[in-house]
């Protein structure tokens, strides 16, 4: 049995299902990132785990104990809120030690020396030892985030919930804190659920990623699993900057024993053997084709046998890389380019090359990757 098991969790707000039969397994010391767009149900999931929202149906087993009927204050779960939720009337020290003075904690009777020792260890780890006498209003965003983290970690909880903890920080600080969060999680060894809308954050820190959409679990796996075999068209939209190109409404046809997909506006996309078998097995009639912008080459060689011919639409420099938009018939295909890309003129003809194995085929109706259709 996993350390945390969520079975068939459903949460309804009136007629709206924020979580629909959700399941999840998290091992001890594992960091699982819940990736999804705003409104996917990420925060609802954490709220129900923490006991802050009642559950309509389902089970939550934590460390072999069903906690579904346990009140929040008895679940031994710590949470870092998106808004940090520091107590404004208390100093940093008082915020961090607040949990030790609840009725239950006082009964457990942790000595003042032990509390001081724990706080010292955590605050040194988070580099906030010199902020202990300040009030939250005197802290920067990054400092508040670390105090919030210290408040959660100092309790040595069974489960740590992080609700988009660095969402409101500037890009530079987010970039710096990401590896720190992972290092802290590994150092403390606490099972952690982390929610985010940013795929780069997910890829940077997660042991496993779970993609959530409208309360439904779309896919769970490592970052390689999610990137190389996205289970749903929606996942393609979440990944990459620029995100996956989706060419809609293609129909498969076999010509000379080889299957190609022909789109309505005249594009021809080759299909590899595994996908061809699948299409035939499941009699899939209409297919959306997904290709990562990073999987498209501007030079045809070797396995890059697929070709799309178009004309340059626009080029966007994106810092360490660029995004070239190419108009292919009526479709705009985006290609990731190196930072030092020699820009060509808008309207100039250009060929785009890709490997058959780099295309991701999704059933047009359900949006599911054809390799995941049962």
């Amino acid at each position: 049995m996993a350390y945390l098991e969520i079975r068939n969790l459903t949460k309804e707000y009136g007629k709206v299902k924020a979580l629909d039969g959700f399941t999840l397994e998290v091992e001890y010391n594992e960091l699982v990132v819940i990736l999804g767009q705003p409104g996917a149900g990420k925060t609802t999931l954490l709220m129900t785990l923490a006991g802050l929202e009642p559950v309509t149906q389902g089970e939550i087993i934590l460390d072999d104990e069903d906690i579904i009927d346990k009140p929040t204050e008895l679940r031994d779960i710590a949470m870092v809120f998106e808004t940090y939720a520091l107590y404004p009337h208390l100093t940093v020290w008082e915020n961090i030690t607040f949990s030790f003075y609840s009725y239950r904690a006082k009964r457990a009777g942790l000595s003042k020396e032990k509390i001081t020792e724990r706080v010292k260890r955590i605050t040194e780890m988070l580099e906030i030892s010199d902020l202990l006498k300040r009030y939250p209003r005197e802290l920067s965003g990054g400092q508040m985030q670390r105090v919030s983290l210290a408040r959660a970690l100092v309790r040595s909880p069974k489960l740590l919930l992080l609700d988009e903890p660095i969402a409101h920080l500037d890009a530079k600080l987010r970039h710096r804190l990401r590896p720190e969060l992972r290092r802290l999680q590994k150092q403390t060894g606490v099972a952690t659920l982390y929610t985010t809308t940013d795929y780069m954050e997910a890829f940077g820190i997660a042991d496993k990623i779970l993609v959530l959409h409208q309360g439904l679990r779309l896919q769970m796996g490592t970052k390689e699993d999610i990137w190389n075999k996205p289970a749903h068209r929606i996942i393609g939209n979440l990944l990459g900057v620029p995100s996956m190109n989706i060419i809609p409404g293609g129909r498969p046809k076999i010509m000379n024993g080889k299957m190609n997909i022909f789109t309505e506006d005249g594009l021809q996309i080759p299909v590899d053997k595994e996908q061809q078998t699948r299409i035939q097995e499941k009699s899939i009639e209409k297919i959306d084709i997904g290709i990562h912008p990073s999987d498209i080459n501007l030079v045809g060689a070797g396995e890059y046998k697929g070709v799309l011919r178009g004309e340059i639409y626009v080029y966007e420099p994106l810092g360490i890389k660029g995004a070239l938009s190419v108009k292919v018939n009526k479709q705009i295909i985006r290609v990731q380019t190196p930072a030092r890309y020699e820009q060509r003129k808008v309207g100039e003809k250009i060929d785009l090359y890709f490997k058959e194995t780099d295309t991701h085929l999704f059933d047009s109706k359900s949006g599911l990757n054809i390799l995941f259709i049962r």
């Binding site: 709220m47 923490a50 006991g51 802050l52 009140p71 929040t72 204050e73 008895l74 779960i77 710590a78 949470m79 809120f81 998106e82 808004t83 939720a85 520091l86 107590y87 404004p88 009337h89 607040f98 949990s99 609840s102 009725y103 239950r104 904690a105 408040r151 309790r155």
Partner: protein, 284 residues
């Protein structure tokens, strides 16, 4: 701002200040006048001040022309009545109103906004429409001329005010802060006492002062439901008016005394009083 506009605004402010402060100032002067000076025409601004009215009102001392004699005065007792009633009414309003405000701010339930508006509507209704019913009810239930009876009837004014004020203050506290305290191991009561109440302290203090002032200044309801025992200060001033004469000097002294708690408390919470006064008209 142009120079002409500045002059205009200054003149306007001076006029408004004279308009509002003149009656109070005149009342203070009247409290220091002899009966002759009170009735003098044209009215006297410069006169020989005396303390007779104050001695009469506070200590029951009356000047006969040759010596002071002791007479009965109820004004200190009415002052204490008002103090007791205002304190009690404020306490009751918060004991009942704070949980109601919290529920309105934090929870969803059927008929929530209807309930809130109905409560608010008690403030709109003039006292006249309830006084007859309340008078009869109080006579039959034995609440007439009791301090508790006045505290209870003042809830018509104070409870809507407290609920609406505290509701908006509680709603302004981010709910995540309370959730964080729950996650930190505190029960609902622990969260309320250790987190919510401390954050509400300034709002509680200001609302309590405003509620106290409302109760202190209230006239009609206090007059209708009391007799000589529990009468508050404001309706008690009517005792200085009789068929034969009006004791202007003593009434002025008693009125100035009655004003003092409101003025002193208002100075402590000036900016909150403005918000509170705009919530509803001050009665009394």
């Amino acid at each position: 701002m142009s120079r002409n506009k500045k002059i205009f605004y200054t003149i306007a402010i001076v006029i408004v200040m004279i308009w509002t402060c003149f009656p109070i100032g005149w009342m203070v002067l009247t409290s220091l006048k002899s009966p002759t000076d009170v009735y003098a025409y044209p009215p006297k601004i410069i006169f020989k001040p005396i303390l007779d009215n104050w001695l009469n009102v506070l200590l029951g001392q009356e000047w006969t022309g040759t010596a002071y004699i002791t007479v009965h005065t109820d004004i200190p007792r009415y002052f204490m009545n008002s103090f007791l009633i205002a304190c009690g009414a404020t306490l009751i309003a918060f004991l009942l109103g704070l949980p109601a405000a919290y529920s309105l701010a934090r929870y969803k339930f059927f008929g929530k906004e209807n309930f809130a508006f109905t409560l608010l509507s008690f403030r709109f209704a003039p006292g006249l429409i309830v006084i007859f019913g309340i008078y009869q009810l109080y006579q039959r239930t034995g609440l007439f001329d009791t301090h508790f009876g006045v505290m209870a009837v003042h809830q018509l004014l104070l409870l809507p005010f407290v609920v609406w004020m505290m509701r908006s203050y509680i709603a302004a506290i981010p709910i995540d802060i309370e959730r964080a305290a729950r996650v930190d191991g505190y029960s609902w009561l622990g969260v309320f006492t250790k987190v919510t109440l401390p954050l509400l302290k300034p709002a509680l203090a200001a609302s309590a002062v405003i509620a106290f002032i409302y109760s202190w200044n209230e006239f009609l309801l206090g007059y209708v439901v009391t007799g000589p025992n529990a009468r508050p200060m404001t309706p008690a001033l009517l005792g200085f008016i009789s068929y034969e004469r009006v004791l202007w000097g003593q009434m002025a002294a008693a009125a100035v005394l009655g004003m003092l708690p409101s003025i002193v408390l208002s100075l402590f919470v000036q900016r909150y009083v403005v918000a509170g006064l705009s919530f509803g008209a001050v009665k009394g």
